[in-house]
Symmetry: C2
Amino acid sequence: MEDRALPVDRETTAALRPGDHKAELRLWLRLLTCSTLIENGVRKRLRESFEVTLPRFDLMAQLDKTPAGLTLGELSQRMMVSNGNVTSIVEVLVGQGMLDRKPSPQDRRAQVVSLTADGRRTFRQMAAAHEDWIAETFAGLNSTEEEQLMVLLGKAKMSARRAFGER
Amino acid sequence: MEDRALPVDRETTAALRPGDHKAELRLWLRLLTCSTLIENGVRKRLRESFEVTLPRFDLMAQLDKTPAGLTLGELSQRMMVSNGNVTSIVEVLVGQGMLDRKPSPQDRRAQVVSLTADGRRTFRQMAAAHEDWIAETFAGLNSTEEEQLMVLLGKAKMSARRAFGER
DNA sequence: TGCATTTATTTTAAGCCTAAAATAATTTCT
DNA sequence: AGAAATTATTTTAGGCTTAAAATAAATGCA
């Protein structure tokens, strides 16, 4: 895999060194740092302000986007977590009166879950605060930078999906 | 909450609507999607190829970067996880002979953890494969795009740190 | 010195998460 | 129709993760 032509300088040799992917590694670590930083911050604030966990908030967010409701399988796919995980979180939220769970009319294996009126009201309150926290999180970027970041992350997302063979 | 001046067009009204931060919300969701996608992919491959969990790999990676070793507290800070979490992961890795754990010479409360020769050998093998997986993950971006993404994520990181009051 | 505070770690209780196996219903194929 | 394969969910076992309380050592300060 070595290039036959002589490299012109040190940087070129570094860039062409087979198997060197330190730049991508640093990129991944920085991406992970950003994500963990925000996730931890949001988790803390959700707990302090609303006594709710992040996974429960995320699940309710999915349902708020789809008023007709979702099956457990659809939920697990959209949240990118395992099936069994969704089962237990739904369990709790149904117990708290946030969610309705009823058998699917078309498929007796499946259950459709949706927000109750109370669940929707509760979620909307949390979501408003959440939106402000996230705005604050990205306050250091202007809208051009946000747009660029959005586009580049879109590419990264497609690329990662291909690499890991999703969907 | 309506602006008093007449808006010039629909996009302007949307951009100026007070309290609207949907763009930042979408940005955060996309960032989270990327991160989860890669994390899940790496987790799966580490398990299939090396029968190791991601947290154990991450912990060993921190120690590989610092041959002199780290205290549990330093580890938990760098990994951005809780103290108790580190305690139990170190426990397992010491049991597997991957890590050395000895009391700090300066501070009898603290313990310094480092990779054993075996641990380092094992880690380096995993790290080489990991580096290739990550390169593959970002294969859809050219080096200019990678550089731009790195810079923008750097800004996001600083901004998030400020928002959530880290360090 | 000695008391109060801080710091490093562990423990505890609760919840999240995964992979794999089990169950049950649906779909496909002959 | 009936067997085989697929799909939706739950269960199980194991591990990760957190927050908060407990323990123990170090530091600050009167």
